[in-house]
């Protein structure tokens, strides 16, 4: 099976010119052609679209309501655009700060993940050496490990390295836990790249390092984008790791978004600040949704290209 090519959108391909067509069997009109079926498709598709978007719109709408409106009238529109809910969530619940922390951590860990992951994957895909199989299995097996099995020992490892409650510490841990998936997929990906190119490049006097950085990485762009997006989502939404590792004095200033939002959801259970909770949810949702809407083509094709081998 071939991979989809990013720049080659299927809509752009003209349908094959008409060959000599066999007339369809007259007893069997193409049922699919009926308007009813198309309408039915649309109805189905629309239904799911509503199912997907409505809860999100509802949360957005509720972020402008006051608690009274939220509790009495789930369907009603907010009486006013109460931005103070957002302000409260942003500053008082410190969602703004957590947002920034998330951006910093994920930027760092994503870069590191992609760098280390592609290095390991490339070597595993293209070179043979003693212990090759073991290393590959160690990485791939990591995808199966239930994370919280490792939590407490991990705490000590991080603490003994003096990285507890620090952003770099969290970056390293995110990176480590993203490696299994990254290595597994990029290895498969590098294997699909043609070997002739690399042989030619080596003959041209391009060393192993040069080959990797100048030839292989650009060639693997689709796979890299795909895995990067996957990792971005995973790291952005990570929630058990930061809770355990971001503690101690001042660590609350370095919380990440999922942590802050869960804290808000829990405290809503004690203080009943529903509007603040919905506003926090909206703040957590919107930037990611907007970023996705802008880059949707890259996200979708990137995310899926890696699996179509």
């Amino acid at each position: 099976m071939t991979r989809t090519d990013l720049d080659h959108s299927p809509a752009a391909t003209a349908p094959a010119s008409e060959p000599a067509r066999r007339p369809a069997d007259p007893d069997r009109p193409p049922r699919g052609d009926s308007r009813a079926a198309t309408a039915f498709s649309h109805l189905f598709l629309l239904g799911w679209a509503v199912l997907t978007t409505f809860p999100l719109l509802w949360a957005l709408g509720s972020s402008f309501k006051n608690d009274e409106e939220i509790l009495t009238d789930p369907w009603g529109l907010p009486g006013a655009l109460r931005w103070e809910n957002w302000a409260r969530a942003w500053s008082h619940a410190r969602i703004g700060r957590y947002f920034l922390n998330s951006v910093i951590v994920v930027a760092g860990s994503l870069t590191l993940t992609m760098l280390l992951g592609s290095m390991a994957a490339y070597v595993l895909a293209r070179y043979t050496f003693r212990g090759h199989r073991l290393v590959y299995l160690l990485f791939a097996g990591g995808m199966m490990f239930p994370v919280f099995l490792a939590l407490v020992p991990l705490f000590f490892v991080v603490r003994d390295l003096g990285l507890l409650g620090t952003l770099p510490g969290l970056m390293l841990v995110y990176t480590a836990y993203s490696l299994p998936f990254t290595v597994f997929f990029l290895t498969a990906f590098f294997r699909t790249l043609p070997t002739s190119v690399s042989e030619a490049a080596l003959v041209d006097g391009c060393g192993h390092f040069g080959l990797f950085f100048r030839v292989m990485l650009p060639m693997a762009r689709t796979g890299l984008i795909s895995v990067a997006i996957f990792n971005f989502l995973g790291q952005w939404n990570q929630y058990v790791l930061p809770i355990v590792l971001m503690q101690g004095e001042g660590a609350q200033d370095r919380w990440v978004l999922a942590q802050g939002l869960t804290a808000l959801a829990v405290s809503e259970g004690y203080a009943g600040d529903y509007s603040g909770l919905f506003a926090g949810m909206a703040i957590a949702m919107l930037p990611v949704l907007l970023a996705y809407a802008v880059f949707q083509r890259q996200v979708q094709s990137g995310l899926t290209a890696g699996h179509l081998k």
């Binding site: 212990g131 000590f156 003994d160 101690g248 804290a263 829990v266 405290s267 203080a271």
Partner: protein, 473 residues
């Protein structure tokens, strides 16, 4: 920027997994092992004992306080910290607050690096049974025997409400200070009742009669916290204790065989089953969490709700201005009850602990002593609408309606005040198992016999489990 000093004791290396991958060389200094414990090599900080410093606090030792950031918030603690600072100006205080006490602190307990004071509360608190069984808590005896901050002639333990010390006692040692004094009972809106001309029923027959009228008026008689149905086990146990005496509850706390099948418990459960049979429970309740159900009640959709005295603070945001939140004892089941109608369940709750391995145990005890001063208690009550376990601790504090009614109820109950502690001894028993039985019972899927035997099965299960430490009252 780690908050944790490097452990003085180097520990056994355990990086077998890494070793298997042949990268031990890259991890030279790393010899961490969760099981190795460590950090325990240091003594806790201490200074000269004197009249001014009876607990022997090292004046320069830092103090770390971790507060559960729940219904009571964390602000009250900042004030206590200021008061501590005034007594020990050189001490650097570290304050943090979290809702995830267990997740945040458990690894630090293991590492021998716990904070000095922990407010162990909330749904995600560290299991007390385990804390005690694993010897993780410092004895608070020295604090209780120290002179009170307000009156050097009185010991701290003499300034507390009755039962406060007992509620933190495990195996004869006081290991927890339960700071907030909580009364449990049935809540209603004083204004709603005044408007409708309803009077709170003193007997269960009157309760059922009133429920009929309430329902006829288009209001659900009872709301309940359906996702945490154990809230309704409290009035059942209270009614049973009033019917046959508090010994019923002691038997339950001690996991005695057939304690849940005691005829008083059966009679109480049978009485409350009437609410299910006659459909006196707010429809949809079983799908609501505590805030949702209590909010329905605040908005006048239901007349009664079972809760502890934290209710007022929890519902502050959604309570109408002239709601007049009022606490009342559970109605008497019969005219021949052992305890009077006025008797309620009252106990100190909201635990504060000093870990045995804290770096500044003396400072932790001193901090609790500050909390137990009149000024510390009054400030807490002012900020949280909750009473403390300090006698006359709320003197001079303007009382909110709910708090005023709690004070009245507790005064009327006096020496008849009772308590049960099985939920504190065996957290899983109450929060999971009895909770599940209540859920089935109040959804109408279990009859009274089924309910009591299911509760008994749960208690027997805990009694049989050798991995759970047992306590007796």
């Amino acid at each position: 920027m780690s908050t944790n000093p490097e452990p003085a004791v180097p520990r056994r290396a355990l990086l077998r997994g890494a070793a298997a991958a042949g990268v031990l060389a890259a991890t030279g200094p790393l010899t961490g092992c969760a099981l190795g414990g460590g950090g325990g090599g240091r003594d806790s900080a201490h200074g000269e004992k004197s009249a001014a410093n009876p607990l022997g606090v090292d004046p320069a030792a830092p103090l770390e306080v971790v507060i559960f950031n729940g219904g009571l918030g964390e602000e009250y603690a900042r004030n206590h910290e200021v008061m501590f600072q005034q007594r020990h100006p050189r001490a650097h205080i570290r304050h943090s607050a979290t809702q995830e006490i267990a997740k945040t602190l458990q690894p630090r307990f293991v590492g021998g690096d716990p904070p000095d004071v922990v407010n162990n509360a909330g749904a995600n608190q560290i299991d007390f049974n385990s804390l005690v069984a694993q010897g993780a808590l410092a004895d608070l005896g020295p604090l209780l025997d120290a002179p009170s901050l307000d009156d050097p002639a009185a010991r701290v333990r003499d300034t507390l409400l009755p039962g406060a010390v007992e509620s933190g006692t495990f195996d004869g040692r006081v290991l927890a200070l339960n700071y907030a004094y909580t009364a449990y009972g049935v809540w209603y809106s004083g204004r709603l009742f005044a408007d409708r001309g309803w009077a709170y029923p003193r007997t269960w027959d009157d309760m059922i009669a009133l429920c009929r009228r309430i329902k006829a008026a288009g209001i659900a008689p009872w709301a309940y916290q359906g996702k945490h149905p154990r809230y309704l086990s409290w009035p059942i146990l209270a009614s049973a204790a009033k019917l046959a005496g508090p010994e019923v509850l002691v038997a339950i706390d001690n996991l005695e065989p057939n304690a849940w099948k005691h005829e008083a418990v059966t009679a109480a459960a049978e009485a409350y089953r009437q609410l299910v049979v006659d459909r006196y429970l707010l429809p949809g309740s079983e799908g609501m969490d505590h805030v949702q159900a209590q909010t329905e009640w605040c908005r006048g959709r239901a007349a009664f709700v079972s809760c502890g005295s934290w209710l007022e603070n929890e519902q502050r945001a959604v309570t109408p201005a002239d709601f007049r939140m009022t606490l009342a004892p559970t109605p008497s089941l019969t005219t021949g009850d052992r305890l009077p109608f006025q008797a309620v369940r009252g106990t100190a709750a909201e635990s504060f602990i000093v870990p045995a391995k804290a770096h500044n145990v003396a400072g932790g005890l001193e901090y609790l002593r500050v909390m137990l001063s009149k000024a510390g208690a009054a400030d807490f009550t002012r900020r949280t609408s909750s009473l403390t376990c300090v006698r006359d601790g709320a003197a001079g504090v303007p009382l909110t309606p709910g708090l005023a009614s709690v004070t009245r109820v507790l005064a009327a109950s006096g020496a008849h005040t009772f308590n049960f502690r099985y939920g504190q001894f065996y957290r899983r028993l109450e929060r999971d198992l009895i909770d599940a039985a209540c859920g089935e019972f109040f959804a109408g899927r279990l009859d009274t016999a089924g309910f009591t035997s299911r509760c008994q099965r749960a208690a027997d299960e805990i009694a049989r489990d050798d991995s759970v430490k047992k306590y007796r009252r």
